[in-house]
């Protein structure tokens, strides 16, 4: 049985995102701390400071405290983690625990190849509309623009009975207004 799992680290344990019908990943700006930043707008041309689980049913914050970590794009080789200050990307900046963890396993698998991370709009070939998206795999020294099927982040190709990737993503609106369903994150791998 093949399984995918997306999880975030809440300071104590890895927590699965769970059903997409319940929560969405929300990207927000900054107010006074991570908790109060839920719902805070991101200025045009500025990237998100925080990330939260947004409950679809009532629009509330569904994070388990402490909240998800926001890794903000600042420049190609720098980031700002939970608004703590600008730092250079490095082998362990951000750390595993500050990224989203994506795992995949299937019976008989031993190798992966052609592993990519995408952001797309209505179709997997489309770039998101109204937002610009970037992503990195932990250990990358630069962010990579992701937009549709043509502009993608090349991931590592883990070996073994399961594969694990640690990914951070950041987003900025290109115009004023809510961007509730403009970008979808997607991962793909070939395995054998």
């Amino acid at each position: 049985m093949a399984t995918w799992a997306w999880a975030w680290y809440n300071g104590a344990t890895w927590t699965d995102f769970g059903s997409n019908a319940v929560d969405k990943i929300g990207f927000y700006g900054w107010l006074t701390d991570v908790a109060t930043s839920f719902g805070r707008k991101i200025y045009v041309a500025s990237y998100n400071d925080t990330m939260h689980l947004r409950k679809i049913a009532d629009g509330t914050d569904d994070c388990i405290t402490p909240h998800m970590t926001g890794v903000k794009y600042v420049a190609a080789g720098t980031c700002n983690i939970n608004h703590a200050g600008v730092v250079a990307l490095a082998a362990n900046v951000p750390t595993n625990n500050q990224c989203i963890r994506i795992t995949f396993a299937d019976a008989g698998m031993g190798n992966t190849e052609n592993s990519y991370f995408y952001s797309h709009g209505a179709a997997t070939t489309d770039a998101p509309v109204g937002v610009t998206t970037v992503a990195l795999e932990k250990g990358n020294l630069a962010w990579t623009a992701v937009a549709g099927s043509g502009t993608k982040l090349t991931l590592s190709n883990p070996t073994g009975a399961s594969a694990v990737w640690y990914v951070a993503m950041s987003i900025t609106p290109t115009a004023v207004g809510a961007k509730d369903a403009n970008a979808t994150w997607r991962i793909e791998t070939d395995y054998y």
Partner: protein, 125 residues
């Protein structure tokens, strides 16, 4: 989204043996490596490698002499699965790859719908 029915591959060898991916996995063996090892050791040659889903066996079309598979041109086979996931659902594909005459010929099967298509690219290895 259509329910996924996983593809299995069936490998036929020149000595009459047939291997089914699921049976090897259920026996706790690394499926593709088991067959590849037999071929690499020269114990037997592959005479067929097909994908099977929902009782339908998929083989490459033979309209093109180069795409004919199994064929009279020397070929080697390879096999991959592709998995993708986003909040809009999962995608599952299986393929086999036949390498011959400098071409890589891939037969893809969508494990959710059963749709198949061919992809032929230059084999850069």
């Amino acid at each position: 989204m259509a329910e996924r029915e996983r593809c299995n591959w069936l490998a036929s060898l020149s000595d009459g043996r047939t291997f089914v991916e699921k049976e090897l996995i259920d026996a706790g063996k690394s499926a593709y490596s088991t067959v590849k090892e037999i071929v690499d050791k020269g114990e037997a040659t592959l005479t067929g490698f097909r994908l099977q889903r929902a009782g339908i066996t998929h083989t490459a079309p033979s309209a093109s002499p180069r795409a004919k598979f199994p064929s009279e041109v020397p070929f080697t086979i390879d096999h991959r699965r592709r998995a993708a996931q986003s909040e809009r659902g999962e995608e599952w594909y299986a393929n086999y790859i036949a390498r011959a005459n400098g071409l890589k010929i891939m037969l893809w099967v969508c494990e959710a719908t059963g749709d198949t298509w061919m992809q032929i690219v230059e084999d850069k290895k």
